[in-house]
Symmetry: C2
Subunit: 349 residues, 2 copies
DNA sequence: GTTCTTGTTGCTCATCCGACTCCCACGTCC
DNA sequence: GGACGTGGGAGTCGGATGAGCAACAAGAAC
């Protein structure tokens, strides 16, 4: 490797001009008046030497690193984090920024989160994205406030900081709507037991949709279990095993795809065929599950990619002064959860 | 926020000493002779002001950023990338380093990869981890050579660069061994159609294990399909639907968990119960599938977390001069794939 | 007992890392 | 002698670091 540490100085020497001129040319400084001959000489020299600016020195001087910090929970255990990162990364790259990712356990203490943010601050990131692994309310480290920041998939407790979250209500309505449209009137909800916004909002939307359709939303059956495959299996089994065959639900709205996967097994064991005997819709659109179950699971997609991209886009706007985050901080921005239709919904018998 | 931009200079003024002294104290420079009184004054002042060093300035001077670049393919579409990142992140954090992650499509051109590496180089990362989403041979951007680098889950084409890969042979042997130990003598292999190391090595190990067990390894049935759920379903269906019931396999070794998931469905459709009528083992240990299928899938785990950690550990050793990568570059390091037993294997009827 | 080395201890000065940028110095041509 | 058109000098960002200086003590020389 010959190209060890080529600086602006080397380019200057090669082109026979001063470093000032090189800087002017390469940064296309507007007020610099330089002949096109000189420009060419400089550009050619830079090219030939394989010059790339030292971003550290540049950042030190300009007070801009072109880096965004991303604090993300549980990078490995949920595919959701991956999609947020992807959305953020692509949006950042498109605007010339790079990401510094810090992973943190969902259970991390406030001090530990603060240390994570501190690490980002010491590296002088231009802004910070703070992402959680599921939609919830978080207590934020206070040092977050010292640079522009945006929350992804969560809102701050008592906080006025810009945030973007999924439209739980709309998503749940789309899911239940798909079942209603297919003609179902006896629909059950397999809910989660955690006390998170999604649990409450989806339940509320579920009942509201039924009521608005002229059914008795308040009486519709709801079974809660932990939101895993096993929980879905148990909840479905309870609902589908009731004596009263005539009033048994013909459709299941599941809190997430994992629970839906459990419901599939319960249905199989009870000799119920999907979608002929039972329609199912999930939530999350986890590729691995939803697309690979048989029959394919109709579900609602969480806009993780979109939230990551939206947050990044607006964070950069704020950094560049094109946008004012404090105006948007009043209410979280809500992004849609579109229905993804596959084969698990049909008209009731 | 009062603590805007506190520099070493501010600490120096507050403590009534020079910046040199502050630097000496805070970095615990061994040759610096400073009274403990002065040390205390400096530390107290730094504490009170909430001073944190500007890592950019530090890095510019010391030529050390304490950052590692990680080029990872397809961050969002495979959980494997997440585990590599997690392993790398934890190992890095433990040694005081941070990660800069660049995501790149698996299909990216060589120039595009080169640009990714260039971005990392301009930020003066101390070393680079280059990770692929599945075990394969890659053509590397040449600028990768200008800082210490380690490949994760791949080896360089014609290249002598340190790499760490999974033990395909050992993993496949463990999988087939589990079936053999359970007493199976008629075992089939559902293989992948891609031309990657895993495809060849697992097939070879499969045949070798059978032969070593006194069976006719060369004659054992193998069906190849794309390594997805659908492919597994089709391959399993072909194998399990043959006329010759007496010679039908009693156990299936699947190229990965997704194909195993397809095999489960094929078995269900044919009225075969797992593991009573048919034993199945997979490969990958994708939590979402392996632990959630019913019955739980016995499979072999890929050491993604471990590869990420190993690579990081040795990369840092090389950066700090404790290790010489070129010595390890001769042969890729191989990490074990342990068997994860669940409930899909039993003795044949 | 005073004055000089010689040595420590304790801390500071000046410079540097690599790029950006304000301000000034030339010619030339009207 | 202004007004351009071209280009360079030197300071700056924030911290690291080798060289050097002042103060004081112990031992040596007178």
């Amino acid at each position: 490797m010959s190209n060890k540490n080529i600086g602006i100085k080397d380019v200057a020497v090669a082109a026979g001009v001063s470093v000032t001129t090189v800087s002017h040319v390469l940064n296309e400084v507007s007020y610099a008046r330089i002949s096109s001959e000189t420009r060419d000489k400089v550009k050619t020299a830079a090219e030939e030497l394989g010059y790339g600016p030292n971003r550290l020195a540049q950042a030190l001087r300009t007070q801009r690193t072109g880096m965004l910090g991303l604090v993300s929970e549980e990078i490995a255990t949920t595919p959701h984090a991956g999609r947020i990162i992807l959305g953020a990364d692509e949006a950042a790259k498109a605007r010339g920024y790079n990401l510094m990712i810090i992973n943190t356990p969902g259970s991390a203490s406030l001090e530990s989160r603060q240390a994570d943010v501190q690490a980002l601050l010491e590296r002088r990131v231009d802004g910070i994205l703070y992402a959680t692994m599921y939609h919830r309310n978080v207590e934020l480290p206070e040092n977050l406030g010292s640079v522009p920041s945006v929350l992804v998939d969560s809102v701050a407790i008592g906080g006025n900081i810009t945030a973007v979250v999924p439209d739980e209500d709309g998503g749940a309505r789309a899911a239940v709507g798909a079942l209603l449209d297919a003609g179902h009137t006896r629909i059950a909800f397999l809910n989660n037991t955690d006390d998170v916004p999604a649990t409450r909002q989806r339940l509320q939307a579920f009942r509201a949709m039924l009521t608005e359709a002229g059914l008795d939303g308040d009486a519709a059956p709801v079974e809660s279990e932990i939101s895993e495959v096993q929980g879905g299996y148990e909840a479905a089994k309870r609902i589908l095993s009731r004596d009263d065959r005539a009033h048994m639900p013909t459709a299941l709205f599941c809190y997430n795809d994992r629970m839906a996967m459990g419901a599939y097994r319960a249905a199989a064991e009870l000799g119920l065929s999907i979608p002929a005997d039972l329609s199912v819709v999930g939530f999350d659109d986890q590729e691995l599950i939803a697309a690979n179950l048989y029959p394919g699971l109709t579900t609602v997609a969480l806009p993780h990619y979109e939230m990551g991209a939206w947050a990044t886009e607006h964070l950069i706007d704020a950094i560049e002064g094109k946008d004012d985050l404090s105006l948007m901080a009043l209410h979280p921005t809500i992004l849609g959860c579109p229905l993804v239709s596959r084969e698990s919904v049909a008209a009731p018998r």
